[in-house]
Amino acid sequence: MTEEISSVVEVDDQEYIINFGPQHPSTHGVLRFVVNLRGEVVKNLQPHIGYIHRGIEKMCEKLTYQQIIHLTDRMDYLSAHMNNEAVCLCVEKALDIEVPERVKYVRTILDELNRIASHQLWWCSFGMDMGGQTCYFYGLRDREKILDIFEETCGGRLLLSYNTPGGLMWDIHPNFQQRIKDFIKYFRKKLPEYDKILTGNVILQERTKGIGHLSLEDAISYGVTGPTARASGFSCDVRKNYPYSAYDKVDFKEILYTEGDTFHRYLARMEEMRESMKILEQLVDNIPAGDFTAKMKPVVKLPEGEYFQRVETSRGELGVYIISKGDKFPYRIKFRSPNFCNLATMNLMASGFKIADLIAISGSMDLVIPDIDR
């Protein structure tokens, strides 16, 4: 392996190479960084991926469009609903189907709930990466409330599989709206606790301010999206710029910072939770009555052509690209996953910082490894 790396990177006799991962707890999955160190300082970093590659894109070529949905759950499992929605929207666009308003509203609500749940889990694990084990318990306590809402309506807690091309699998549960209202009331009280425990904490601030800077130019040229890019000032929110579902009916702010360091990536996610709650408040009382699915044929066949649709997941922009030859299976399906592009900037951000900062930086990127490998 040393030869493999040293043929790419020049290693002098002051430097040494270590493997960071694939079994390291702070990579949050099976990701391996090959890190060149001089003393404690990172000189170069190469991510090695593919440990959890399942060939989802290839598997999809033998599955109907309804069956693909359950595989997209397993890419970015923390934004399962957004992944489902991306495929559904793409298929609906190709077939030129207008889904009922009710479906659009419910999808948007579930998106935002999913985003909050994902950011809560990120907050827990980021706190733990920084050495604050307490965070885990507070974050998971509140996430449980959202998982209960999911469980009651969708039947799954993490992998929802609630979307289907044309609408939803079944109608929402009668308690759905009440539970969301309760959750918002509850979480508005609990979110300041997060700030007290972690945001204001002197150790977190010292370890993240000015660390792992990502400039606006780099963010754009590497195709970084999501809160990671918005912390660098790159306005890339698909919900705002290319609204889908019910996002054109709600009023929310795109969180933008210009500093682009680890601390502002942290702040961007914290603020997004507040914005998500605002979106939920606007939608939850106005779910229109109607069908929970559009009229669909049992066998969905897309007309020949190429289709693309993107959505904003909790980590950035997910694109679905389908090439159809008129069959009930896609000829080729490609997912443009946000984490894969975000990962490419790791070397840029971590070079020149200490190895302990590397953990802070990779934590603030909120990487989900199965989404990178697919």
Binding site: Q67, H70, C154, L159, M169, E193, K196, L198, G200, Q205
Partner: protein, 167 residues
Amino acid sequence: MKSIIEYISGIYRGLRSLLIGMSVTGKYFFSPRAIVTQQYPENRHGHGKRSKKQLVMFDRFKGEVVMPHDANNQHKCTGCGICEINCPNGTIEIISVSKVGEDGKKKRAIEKHIYRLGMCSFCALCVKTCPSKALEFSQEFEHAVFDRTKLVKVLNKPGSSLMKGVE
């Protein structure tokens, strides 16, 4: 002089931020009512000493696929095989036989509805697409077994037959 003041105020700010954080954890430490932890194996039946809540799964929870039978040991599955076609993982296998019905016509009926729990990804397509609503999800979630072969289940009970009026 200036640097000394900065140094001391830095220490003060740091300590203050730590105390603010600890005030939150301290509040929960001294208020046992705020405990949300559930004692898992005890709360299953709701009579554990420290369990606050009984563990009840929601009705829609996708635990495992079952085929409900009524009191006469009758189910609704006609053996059409639609669930088998719709399953993305090959979890379901239908073994059907043709029987001569009361009216003398040949009819398809199931002999075995094989469900491999270990391969199921709980996508709910089988339950949703079954034309006679013969399948549903149970809320059972404790699936651990010592032997893999125990995960292969036959959903129709032995000796069961098709419910009257289901085509």
